[in-house]
């Protein structure tokens, strides 16, 4: 119970802090009126236009003081109303409903690839720590960390989509199969730095776990190497990996802004970049809220998994 209360409180505080900063920052970033009314709104002078402008400002409450507007926005948001896009008057909710699932699939896809590759890789390197395979792996993983995602995207796209034509060049989602194949390259691009991060962390933790007495005990019991690695060493070594897994949700979303744009994937990352350029605050703010909720939710989940990984972790501690 204490855990639930604490998590909810955490969510509220994070949401407040993030939206307050985002709302305030966007407020000083430019005049949304331009996007609501088009160029005539600003360039044409004359009483008839002034009236239109005043009407629009009133409709979107642009003249109210900052705290009032923030308060109104929070109130609407809590009832599930994120307002309408300044540029095309579509409700932000329908934009989210439309774009968010694509991005969620992409994020989950990237995390699944990252875990599926990094965990076996880390087990392999830790079991031969400081030998050739491990040292070579260090070079490979630092390379993976060093390549910028946008460059990797270009490389992957050119090789696998254009040159060898293994994967489609444009996003298709008629079937699940199409969705997974067309999201494969972007997911790999997003997963690459994660794979390297996870592999480094898990390898280090595994190496230190393998020094533990209970590993010697398991070896003295004559258990096979693979068994000791998987059934004794792996679980107590997953803590750093899990912690960073939760934190990486944020950087994945940052990465998706770039990757979705480069691959022309109609997800929320693509949408929010466009929205920023056209000063479409309601869309940007809604995405900020969604990202914050997702971030807090994933990290609450991570806390729950800690208790599963180690029975000594107190659920309500």
């Amino acid at each position: 119970m204490r855990f639930v209360v604490r998590s909810l409180l955490q969510l509220v505080l994070v949401l407040f802090a993030v939206t307050f900063v985002a709302f305030g920052a966007l407020n000083y970033l430019g005049d949304p009126l331009f996007n609501i009314l088009g160029p005539i709104a600003l360039e044409e002078s004359g009483p008839e236009y002034a009236e239109v402008r005043a009407e629009a400002r009133a409709q979107f409450h642009l003249d109210d003081p900052f705290p009032v507007r923030y308060g109104r926005w929070v109130g609407d948001m809590l009832t599930g109303d994120f307002g309408r896009s300044y540029s095309n008057q579509v409700t932000v909710r329908s934009i989210l409903a439309d774009k968010l699932p694509v991005t969620v699939v992409l994020m989950v896809y990237a995390q699944v690839i990252a875990i599926a590759v990094s965990v076996p890789w880390a087990l392999w390197t830790a079991s031969r720590a400081y030998r050739f395979g491990d040292k070579a792996s260090t070079v490979v993983s630092f390379t993976m960390l060093g390549i910028p995602v946008f460059a990797l995207t270009v490389l992957l796209f050119w090789l696998f989509a254009i040159r060898w034509q293994i994967f489609p060049t444009r996003y298709e989602d008629e079937t699940i199969g199409q969705r997974l194949t067309s999201l494969f390259l972007p997911a790999v691009a997003l997963a690459t730095p994660l794979i390297a991060t996870y592999q480094r962390l898990l390898r280090t933790d595994l190496i230190s776990t393998l020094q533990e007495d209970f590993i010697s005990v398991a070896r003295a019991k004559g258990l096979p190497k693979w068994y000791i690695l998987f059934r004794h060493a792996l679980r107590p070594s997953l803590f750093s990996l899990l912690t960073v897994f939760g934190i990486q949700v944020a950087s994945l979303i940052g990465g998706s802004l770039v990757v979705e744009r480069q691959f022309q994937i109609p997800g929320i990352g693509f949408e929010v970049v466009e929205a920023i350029f056209r000063d479409d605050f309601p869309v940007v703010l809604a995405v900020v809220v969604v990202v914050s909720v997702a971030f807090v939710a994933v990290n609450v989940l991570v806390d729950l998994i800690y208790t599963f990984l180690d029975p000594r972790v107190d659920f309500n501690g």
Partner: protein, 330 residues
């Protein structure tokens, strides 16, 4: 020791560790043996090589270690055993109990899983049979409420209870040799004797050989048939336990005896500690390793390495140039 073929016999075992600062000669020229059903004590202070020697037998040394000499278990050369023999050797023929019960159990696995995995792997027991046997073993080591403990995690048990679990685990596949490496050092004094007596009883009841490693000569005194006293990676003196106490030849073995607290001694009498600290093993020794701390050392002790010298029938040997005579013993 006596004429019967030993169960485990080490001959001239040497262990060197490669370190960034050069080789460390952790164990040199150690020979010892234990017979079926008998108990051998290995005594020495930290760094004397007693644990490392047994870890070499258990194949628990890191890859930086180089092992020389021979180790034979029941006719099999342990150090060069084929993998088919190895597969069911550790945890079946030989089992080991470690010093610290607080860290010997995997903190994230329940007792039943840790108890049964060895039986299931080596003997292909079904889950249920293995659990039944696990409960029997836990009762054998007199763990209170054995069936109830099965679903618990190690942190829910006290140190003494955990050491009982570790011992029960080691007994899972009826080993003919149990190596106990300072099994009570990390435990409360009140629990220490219980665990030692338990090991002693189990050895007799299960007709299993026991190697009891300790830094305390008092611990092995009443519980072993033979004793090997090690110092600086070498065997100083090796004898049947009563002979070692009755007819001590090596000054180090003598010094160890004098540092045992004895409740029958008059109050206020001080223990005799051994001054100095163990030798640096990063260069090969030219003389007796104990010479710098030995009150009986003479000039040649620093330059001549003493060899094992037999007393009487040869079951008692010592490595000292200027041994204590009969008259010098207690």
């Amino acid at each position: 020791m006596s004429e019967a073929t030993p169960l485990l016999e080490l001959e001239n075992l040497s262990i060197t560790f490669a370190t960034p600062g050069g080789p460390v000669y952790a164990v040199s020229d150690v020979s010892l043996s234990v017979e079926r059903g008998k108990a051998l004590g290995i005594v020495g202070e930290s760094g004397s090589g007693k644990s490392v020697t047994m870890k070499a037998v258990m194949d628990l040394l890191p890859s930086t270690a180089t092992i020389g000499g021979q180790a034979t278990f029941d006719g099999t050369d342990v150090l060069t055993m084929p993998s088919s023999r190895r597969k069911h050797f550790y945890g079946v023929d030989v089992a080991m109990v470690f010093q610290n019960p607080m860290t010997s159990l995997n903190p994230v696995k329940r007792i039943d899983a840790q108890m049964t995995e060895g039986m299931r792997y080596h003997r292909d027991l079904s889950k249920n049979d293995a659990k039944k046997r696990a409960i029997e073993l836990l009762e054998l080591v007199r763990l209170p409420d054995a069936p109830g403990r099965m679903r618990q995690y190690p942190h829910e048990l006290s140190g003494g209870m955990r050491q009982r679990v570790v011992i029960a685990m080691a007994l899972a596949n009826d080993p003919s040799l149990l190596i106990a490496d300072e099994p009570t050092t990390a435990l409360d004094v009140t629990v220490q004797r219980d665990i030692l007596n338990l090991l002693d009883n189990l050895r007799t009841d299960l007709n299993m050989a026991l190697i009891l490693i300790s830094h305390d000569l008092g611990v092995v005194r009443d519980r072993t048939d033979d004793v090997v006293v090690m110092y600086g990676g070498r065997v100083m003196e090796s004898a049947q336990t009563e002979d070692l106490f009755a007819d001590t030849r090596h000054p180090y073995a003598r010094a160890l005896q004098l540092s045992i607290p004895d409740i029958s001694k008059p109050r206020g009498q001080r223990l005799d500690p051994i001054p100095g600290s163990p030798p640096d093993l990063s260069s090969p020794l030219t003389g007796c390793p104990f010479a710098p701390r030995c009150t009986f050392a003479q000039d040649d002790c620093h330059s001549t390495l003493p060899v094992a010298t037999p007393v009487g029938d040869g079951s008692h040997t010592f490595s000292c140039l200027h041994p204590l005579g009969q008259e010098a013993t207690v």
